[in-house]
């Protein structure tokens, strides 16, 4: 039964993620918690990207711009909170409930702009335009001399949430896990909804959908914005996790990494990209321990994923989109 297999996979995955802090405390490896936390954060971005690539066939090669922007909003506000002079007469705030929505709103705004333009085209133009906009964001971040330019910004400390103390690694880890679960559930609601049905129909036969009275643009734009907000959330969490943001967060290679993760996990499965993230990040970690020239192995692995990994991890386990 495919359904029970799927449920078993979810339960197993969740149990593993829940157990990581216990394992780390039990002395398995102090680096384990950090590794798992990075996986959780990247997985939020991967699920978001799957929403538009897997379900909407919008191949965004610039999603790192939202990752970077989300992170930088947190970084810049923190800079003005601790030490830096006030911005426009206001000093910053360290309240997550203030800063995080601000960061997500910034991502949504950027997505409306970029999506509004990029969705006038499709196919290869769409890919290149999203890439070009991400480069623009990248260069703007590099040119922000007062915020560190090339070198980026250090954050004095993590944002504050009421009731829980996320400066503790374990607490922060569980927060990321909770957000990943919530976000994935939200996304799966979206893809199964009326909106999701139409979004997927536009991927498969735009002509059919248009002749049923559907205007493609608003649906695609909405999906693009939702996806950008999710990726921005990952950026926000990353800034808090690493307490360090750099323009590299918005680099084109980061966008490529997100795409690779989604394909590796399985397009149009939502859960697949989470598995894809785990495999990808773990592999990256192992290779970089093994040799400093790990890219020479990682590169061909990406190429092989593209050549042979049509259905991804999830596609093989519990069926996904058929290409």
């Amino acid at each position: 039964m495919p359904l029970t297999l799927r449920q078993a996979a979810i339960a197993l995955g969740l149990a593993l993620f829940l157990a990581v802090p216990l394992l780390a405390e039990a002395g398995a490896s102090p680096a384990l918690l950090g590794l798992a936390n990075r996986i959780l954060i990247y997985a939020i971005a991967a699920v978001s990207l799957d929403l538009i690539i897997g379900y909407g066939a919008m191949v965004s090669f610039g999603h790192a711009m939202f990752f970077g922007l989300g992170g930088y909003v947190v970084g810049i506000v923190a800079y003005h909170t601790f030490g830096g002079e006030p911005l426009l007469g206001r000093s910053g705030s360290n309240a997550a409930l203030l800063v995080w929505p601000l960061a997500l709103a910034a991502c949504a705004l950027l997505a409306v702009l970029v999506g509004g333009l990029a969705l006038r085209t499709s196919g290869v133009q769409f890919i290149m335009i999203t890439l070009a906009f991400a480069q623009m964001v990248f260069f703007v971040l590099v040119s922000l001399q007062s915020y560190g330019g090339d070198d980026g910004l250090m954050l004095e400390r993590r944002n504050m949430l009421p009731f829980i103390d996320i400066s503790k690694p374990t607490t922060f880890y569980y927060l990321c896990l909770a957000l990943l679960v919530i976000w994935t559930v939200l996304c799966s609601f979206i893809v199964n909804s009326r909106f999701g049905l139409i979004l997927q129909a536009l991927r498969q036969s735009e002509r059919r959908a248009v002749n049923l009275g559907i205007r493609p643009f608003p649906f695609r734009l909405a999906a693009f914005v939702i996806s950008a907000v999710g990726t921005g959330l990952a950026g926000v969490l990353w800034a808090n996790y690493a307490r360090f943001v750099t323009p590299d967060m918005a680099a084109w290679s980061k966008s490529g990494e997100f795409m690779a993760i989604v394909v590796l996990g399985g397009l149009g499965t939502l859960l697949g990209p989470i598995a894809g993230t785990a495999v990808f990040i773990a592999l990256e970690q192992l290779l970089s321990i093994w040799t400093e020239h790990w890219m020479i192995v990682m590169g061909p692995i990406l190429t092989l994923i593209a050549l042979f990994g049509q259905r991804g991890i999830a596609g093989r386990v519990f069926g996904g989109r058929r290409d």
Partner: protein, 304 residues
């Protein structure tokens, strides 16, 4: 006035280099429907080969030949090993596969040639400046670059309008029946076009080597600008690539010269400098956005 003319020449020179890269990329896309991110790598390989051979032999000519051969052969190898399996696949997989190749190439080049960026001098016969106008001396090598760009444009025009390969480009490519009706071995043709694209990248690489820094990552930076060029010009169209390359070249070099000046008129210098640098880098993307607002398929799309 002199400054303006000098900037226009700079724009022309940058445009010529972009055209050498963009024409190959757009041909590859137009004929085979493949997005090839490795294109920037061919350029980097060309520059490294040139610098290496010049360092060993002291001969610029041998260096140039090595660049063309190195970039061309690498392109053919990439086509045979990877890209030929991607022709019928979704763009997503093409992007991903060639992205992997970029990572591989960058690491391989740094392993082979070392991490320290090689230097390459301007060859003696291209050194110095000549007066182009009273009061304006312009470097010979940049003029050579412009001339070479014009030659490439002419050559491609002949190729596209007066050869069988060109018929395919003009017909719009994917039509396999027509291709076989012409009696062309399509596999060989694809490899050939790929190789040609590589050679053009090598040419750009050898011209750029004495002017720009030769380093890992130089390929991606120029690749993304090249994308902007072909999106502006219209993907798949060589004429579009020419127009796009010149536009981008001009906007970039005029922006570099005038945007900071204009900003300093109204803003304090410290703000103007930072903002200026950001705006200059962003100017070609703004140009692209404007073009797309008016013409979503670019200025001269291959197929209407």
């Amino acid at each position: 006035m002199i400054l303006l003319i000098e900037q226009l020449l700079n724009g022309l020179q940058y445009g010529a280099m972009l055209f050498m890269l963009a024409s190959g990329l757009t041909l590859i896309f137009g004929i085979m429907g493949v997005i090839n991110l490795t294109h920037g790598c061919f350029y980097m390989v060309g520059a490294y080969c040139a610098a290496f051979v010049v360092l060993q032999t002291g001969s610029f000519l041998l260096g140039a030949l090595a660049a063309l051969a190195g970039a061309g052969l690498y392109a053919v190898a990439v086509e045979l090993a990877v890209v030929q399996w991607l022709y019928r696949r979704d763009h997503l997989y093409q992007v991903l596969a060639t992205l992997g190749l970029i990572l591989f190439t960058n690491e391989a080049v740094s392993l082979i040639f070392g991490r320290r960026p090689p230097l390459m001098d301007i060859p003696p016969f291209l050194q110095g400046s000549v007066p182009v106008l009273p009061g304006l001396e312009y470097p010979v090598i940049r003029l050579a670059f412009i001339g070479m760009g014009a030659l490439v444009a002419l050559g491609l025009w002949l190729l596209v309008n007066h050869s069988r390969v060109g018929m395919l480009v003009r017909a719009g490519a994917d039509d396999r029946e027509m291709v076989s009706a012409l009696g062309i071995d399509i596999r060989r043709l694809y490899t050939l076009v790929f190789g040609l694209g590589g050679v053009l990248c090598g040419l750009a690489g050898v011209m750029a080597a004495p002017l720009l820094a030769i380093e890992i990552g130089m390929g991606e930076r120029v690749l993304i600008t090249t994308f902007v060029v072909i999106v502006i010009g219209g993907v798949g169209s060589v004429r579009g690539a020419l127009v796009g390359a010149l536009l981008v070249g001009m906007v970039d070099s005029l922006g570099r010269a005038y945007i900071p000046q204009l900003l300093q008129l109204s803003l304090p210098p410290s703000v103007a400098d930072t903002l200026g640098a950001g705006l200059v880098s962003a100017s070609i993307y703004v140009l692209m956005a404007l073009v797309l607002l008016v013409r979503p398929l670019g200025l001269l799309p291959a197929r209407s």
